[in-house]
């Protein structure tokens, strides 16, 4: 059974009762990432979907306040009606997770879920201006606000973003939105291997053309995008967005510069939008399997080295977003967690998150990157400061938090 509070007061009551009764709760939204994370102590699901609706939306101020359980679809539709958007492009996990249900806005921020624009435009946490949440003591807490610049006190907003419901139950979020670009165009460089692609993407990012997406799709996955419509060979794709006149000029400039790396072609607006949506949603690995799937964040220049090193020892398939710094990696059999994490360290650091795996594998593999002792200890203390009785999904993000 899932607890579905319909007001903040209701939510606070449920949490207070649970805290005093020693009961554990698992905050969730639409459960489209069901099964993700480390296994926790048995906990009763508590969904925000009873708290739904747009509270305040001022298009001229580019700020929206929404109850946490509001379906993402509803938020996106309201924004689209005003030609605005969430710049961080939250991904839809249903494909890779094999889940159903409706993603909620609270779930997006609780998971700090961002898409291809993240590496230049910021993550979900960077757009999040204010929150209301119920802490583990059942107290309603307000943090941040509805203005873009705010350094009044500690930034609990950032802390709650990406805490996957382990620090508090989000009831309301206020975030910044941006105008939708007038047009989108993608410049494709064909036939580059992973290392060449990394160099090409770095070169593109050094140009004053404002690339807003940089992904490399190796041969093994390329055919899965836009119905096989990408040109021959591996595809390194660079996205430009903005005013039509400006995009045209920048695309010429970018295509000229990229011609030094390989054959260049272009994809126009509609197909570009479809392509980046599929990159965002990790389309090639929305494959109906539970094969271990990693989301790896490293420095852009080392993503391909990591894949090359692992390939010698394990069966893997991978593609790259964020200029090569976000590696989506599907393992053929074993998740090879230790090997992967050892190589990440050797290449300068980063983190690997196990998005899915067969149940038995998942139970024995830490989903989140284990932290160095001192950082883990701090995280435990932070958890205790917000959830002293440890009632919110204990263990979901690691050892004691």
């Amino acid at each position: 059974m899932t607890l579905i509070p319909t007001s903040e007061v209701d939510a606070a009551y449920i949490i207070r009762t649970a805290a005093s009764g020693g009961k554990k709760l698992a905050p969730c939204g639409g459960s489209t990432r069901a099964g993700f994370g480390n296994s926790t102590e048995p906990a009763e699901k508590m969904s925000s979907r009873g708290l739904s609706g747009i509270v305040d939306y001022e298009p001229a101020e580019m700020v929206m306040t929404v109850k946490a359980g509001t379906p993402l679809l509803e938020v996106e539709a309201a924004l689209a009606a005003n030609r605005q958007m969430m710049s961080f492009e939250p991904m839809d996990h249903r494909g890779i997770m094999g889940t159903t249900g409706e993603p909620t806005i609270g779930g997006v921020f609780a998971g700090n879920i961002s898409g291809p624009r993240r590496f230049v435009g910021g993550a979900a946490r960077d757009s999040l201006l204010g929150i209301r949440f119920v802490n583990g003591k059942g107290e309603l807490i307000r943090a941040g606000g509805r203005v873009m610049k705010n350094v009044t006190g500690l930034d609990l907003v950032k802390l709650l973003a990406g805490s996957h419901g382990t620090l508090g139950f989000l009831t309301e979020v206020t975030f910044r939105v941006l105008p939708m670009p007038q047009t989108v165009e993608t410049v494709v460089i064909s036939g580059l291997d992973d290392a060449e692609a990394a160099r090409a993407m770095a070169a593109a990012m050094a140009l004053p053309v404002e690339v807003s997406g940089a992904a490399h799709l190796p041969a093994s996955v390329k055919g899965r995008f836009i119905g096989g419509g990408l040109p021959e060979g591996e595809a390194t794709v660079l996205r430009l967005e903005g005013l039509s006149a400006s995009v045209a000029v920048r695309a010429d400039k970018l295509a000229d510069a990229m011609a030094a790396f390989g054959p260049v072609s272009r994809i126009a607006m509609d197909e570009s939008q479809a392509l980046w949506r599929e990159i965002r949603d990790v389309h090639p690995y929305a494959d109906g399997t539970r094969k271990p799937l990693w989301r790896v964040s490293v420095a852009p220049s080392v993503g391909h080295q990591l894949v090359a090193a692992l390939r010698l020892e394990a069966g893997i398939d991978a593609f790259y977003d964020w200029q090569g710094g976000l590696v989506w990696m599907r393992m053929e059999a074993d998740p090879e967690a230790e090997l992967l994490r050892r190589y990440i360290k050797a290449l300068g650091g980063g983190h690997a998150t196990l998005m899915r795996a067969p149940d038995a594998v998942q139970a024995s593999t830490p989903a989140f990157e284990p932290q160095p002792d001192a950082v883990a200890l701090l995280s435990v203390r932070v958890k205790q400061a917000l959830d002293p009785a440890g009632i919110f999904s204990p263990g979901k993000m690691g050892g004691n938090f």
Binding site: E61, L154, G162, L178, A245, S301, G350
Partner: protein, 479 residues
């Protein structure tokens, strides 16, 4: 002058051990890294919030993370308060010490450690000045985006402490949006690293929590920041209006139109006059309010955007439109704006407020602000980041007149409450420090503050890091 803002009473146990503490610190550090002669301590007794000053017990100027760790370990063991300090440019008193505190200055840690263009990052020591990063990478076509007006002097460590912004953060965000990682010394001397050249946190976003924490959670000694490719061109344009209200509503309409300029800066008549007299930037003197709108990109792009902005300004009765015709003119326009605080300081003492309000409330808050200062018989000059609603009323007063000073402080408090009541916040980029500490209850409930303080205590149970700042002195958890 009168002192309405209190500090924590000095810890007698620390004061009585002063000689021993100095001797112990001398053992931990090279001779030129410890300052304790009373005369030499004077430069550290305040920051840019000059109305308040306290002579610290000692000042340490470590050169390495290991030395910072040794000092922290010692101070933690003996319960000696530590006040971190970058360049001492805080406008909210964030770096003002107290009698029982060791000031930990990062000025000797001022090296740029690595520039990595393939990953568009720079790794620097915390005492590096903000501007020196952009200067170092500028010739290669990159820059570091946050640009506080004090960028020539202020340090990255201080920027992280206050989550500093600047004129250009309308497009590029503030420090927290441009910070990828830190090396940091915890209160007990443990050294940790958060983030790096990769994006996002592996677990809790402790980096996001540390940024803007005003030196209460630890001492950042190194930072990895994001570099951005410089735009092809940038063009600031001056828009003069008869009234502040017209300028304010023009800002809201520009933002609402879907164009995001890199910067929209606002100046009212007193600010225009002060800045023009100082910088000779060519600001029109026959207008009541001025906007500096900067767009960037290719020539074609800038033309297209400016055309639209000029049209919008026309609908709000714009009187003068002046585009900069050369790089030199553009630089002058910014020089005038960025020297606003310094130029004001030449004609009067001032305190600078930093509240942020929703864009739709700009005109209303401007009007109310001058009503408030009028009622105290004080002058105000407004110069601020209008695009993100971050106001900076400069309240002019005479610091030699205690009554005048008390009035200025009271007027400032009224203005900040006004910002909060209009749906905004006490501080957009300067931090709470001591200045706004006692107004925190106006913005937050007891539960909100208690939650923040509990998180603070998770890092510093004994409250020795910058202890007189941010949170009201009454109602703190007892330790």
């Amino acid at each position: 002058m009168s002192e309405t803002i209190q500090f924590l009473p000095p810890r007698q146990a620390v004061l009585s051990r002063r000689t021993a503490i100095i001797a112990d610190l001398a053992d931990l550090l090279p001779p030129d890294c410890l300052v304790h002669e009373p005369r030499e301590l004077v430069p550290f007794e305040t920051d840019a919030f000059v109305a308040y000053r306290r002579v610290p017990l000692a000042v340490v100027l470590p050169r390495t993370t290991a030395e910072v760790a040794a000092v922290m370990k010692y101070c933690h063991r003996y319960g000696v308060p530590v006040v971190p300090r970058g360049a001492g440019t805080s406008l909210s008193g964030g770096a003002i010490p107290q009698e029982d505190a060791v000031v930990l200055g990062l000025s000797k840690m001022s090296r740029i450690l690595e520039v990595d263009y393939a990953n568009r990052t720079a790794t620097v020591q915390a005492g590096v000045t903000n501007l020196s990063i952009s200067e170092t990478v500028g010739a290669d076509g990159f820059f570091y985006a946050p640009d506080p007006s004090s960028q020539l002097a202020c340090t990255i460590g201080g920027n992280i402490g206050m989550n500093s912004g600047g004129a250009h953060c309308l497009k590029y965000g503030v420090t927290t949006n441009n910070l990828l990682g830190v090396k940091m010394v915890l209160v007990d001397g443990t050294v940790i690293e958060l983030g790096g050249k990769h994006l996002d946190a592996a677990g809790y976003d402790l980096l996001g929590l540390v940024c803007g924490s005003e030196g209460q959670l630890g001492i950042v000694t190194e930072a990895t920041v994001r570099l951005i490719a410089k735009p092809e061109g940038a063009r600031p344009v001056l828009f003069g209006f008869d009234t502040s209200e017209e300028a304010g509503s023009c800002v809201a309409d520009v933002i609402g139109s879907g164009i995001i300029p890199v910067a929209i800066e606002f100046m009212d008549k007193p600010a225009i006059e002060i800045c023009e007299a100082f910088a000779h930037a060519g600001y029109p003197l026959d207008v009541g309010a001025l906007l500096i709108v900067e767009v960037e990109g290719s020539e074609a792009e800038m033309d297209a955007m400016l055309k639209e902005i000029v049209e919008i300004a026309g609908r709000h009765g714009v009187k003068t439109v002046r585009e900069s015709q050369s790089a030199m003119e553009a630089a002058l326009i910014w020089k005038g704006r960025k020297s606003a605080f310094g130029a004001t300081g030449r004609i009067a003492d001032y305190i600078c407020m930093d509240g942020t309000v929703p864009l739709g409330k700009l005109s209303y808050v401007l009007k109310k602000t001058s009503e408030i200062t009028d009622s105290f018989g004080l002058r105000v000059a407004n110069v601020f980041h209008a695009g993100d609603g971050n106001m900076h009323p400069l309240i002019l007063f005479n610091a030699n007149d205690p009554e005048d000073a008390a009035k200025a402080e009271a007027a400032g408090n009224e203005i900040l409450k006004l910002c909060v009541d209009a749906g905004g916040c006490l501080t957009g980029e300067h931090g709470v420090g001591i200045e706004k500490r006692d107004l925190m209850r106006h913005q937050y409930s007891e539960a909100d503050l208690a939650q923040q303080m509990a998180v603070r205590a998770a890092f510093d149970e004994g409250w020795i890091l910058n202890p007189s700042k941010v949170f009201p002195l009454e109602g703190r958890p007892t330790t």
